[in-house]
Structures are given as structure tokens and as C-alpha cells.
Symmetry: C2
Subunit: 106 residues, 2 copies
């Protein structure tokens, strides 16, 4: 499994960010061909109780690297990428990764 990870720094206005993220951006991202699963995490702090350095993380799962690359190169992928650069270009860090351990424990 390969993931496209988008991790966002704290926005100035979280309600404006959330409005665009959940109602415009996520629906665009979900149209990417080959996308198996999406998981969005909102960070609430550090384990020590400090502010988290990031606000939100989206993990987009694909079965392999070539599916991920195809999705990013697709019309839907380019549309989602253009949207993210428009509303969160200064906040977002994008990375590609491989899931090397995935284990259910309970």
C-alpha cells in the first residue's frame, strides 16, 4: 500500500480552512482514480499538552506506487492539486510513502 500524505500547518482561521477543506477539497480528492481509502486526522496537541506543529493530515491510500502516480497525473488529481495550492499552498507539505507495517492488535 502506498500513501499520498498532505500535512497542513495551523491555518490562521480554522473555520474558513475547514469549510474549504471538507466541502470543496476533500470531495475533489475523493474523485482521484484508484483511491482506496482516505483518512483525515485533526491534531489536537502534543502528548505533553503543547500545541501541535500541524493542524490536519490527510492520508490517501493506493494499492501501489504506480496507481498513486497515475492518480496524481489524472485530470482529477491535477484538479485536486490545483485546489490545494490555491487555498493552502503555504500550509501544506506533500509526501509519498510506502506502508511498511500495518498490524491490527486488538
Amino acid at each position: 500500500m502506498h500513501k499520498l500524505v498532505a500535512i497542513y500547518k495551523q491555518p490562521e482561521d480554522t473555520s474558513t480552512f475547514d469549510e474549504h477543506y471538507f466541502h470543496v477539497h476533500a470531495p475533489l480528492a475523493k474523485k482521484m482514480p484508484g483511491l482506496k481509502k482516505i483518512e483525515v486526522t485533526r491534531f489536537t496537541g502534543t502528548p505533553m499538552g503543547d500545541n501541535a506543529p500541524y493542524y490536519l493530515q490527510a492520508d490517501l491510500y493506493f494499492s501501489d506506487r504506480s496507481s498513486l502516480d497515475a492518480a496524481m497525473g489524472s485530470k482529477e488529481g491535477r484538479s485536486a492539486a490545483k485546489d490545494v495550492m490555491g487555498f493552502a499552498g503555504k500550509l501544506v507539505t506533500m509526501m509519498v510513502g510506502e506502508v511498511v507495517t500495518e498490524e491490527d492488535l486488538v
Copy 2:
């Protein structure tokens, strides 16, 4: 679902890091009470083909925030925390987050 996220910057020596991470640290982390799932991702780059700012991310899933807090405060949690600070204190960023969207799409 709540997650304890540990995200590691690029280590100087990835094979020494991996050796400790997968053979010492991960087994300690997996002993944390209430841990539902562990997912470890190795970042390979950015979508643009640049080096990723991070090397590895571990997502530890708990059913809720109080289970996560109890796990961190447990003997096993303190042991895992002590270990991570010893081998990767300068590389790791730890955050707590809530999974707000989890959707299987294919």
C-alpha cells in the same frame, strides 16, 4: 478513533535507525495497552520528486482519547517513550490527533 503520531526526520544512518526502530522500538510500542492498530509509513519523496522532509511516520490507533492517555501513562507507554527519546529524541515529533474522516472508496 484517536492516534498517537510519531514522525521522524531523516536520520544520519537509516540502517542503524531501522535496526533499532523495527527490532527494539516497535516491539516496545506494540505492548502499549489498548493499542488497536499500528501503521508505519516510510516516506520516499515528495510528489514533485524531491526529498521528503520526513523519513518515517508511525500511527498508533486507540479507540478514544482516554485509552490513548492511559496507554501513554502506562508502564509500557513510558518505556516506549523513554526508548524513543534515547535513539531518536532529536528526530521525532509527537502529536495526538482525532481521525475525523475514514472512508473506504474502492
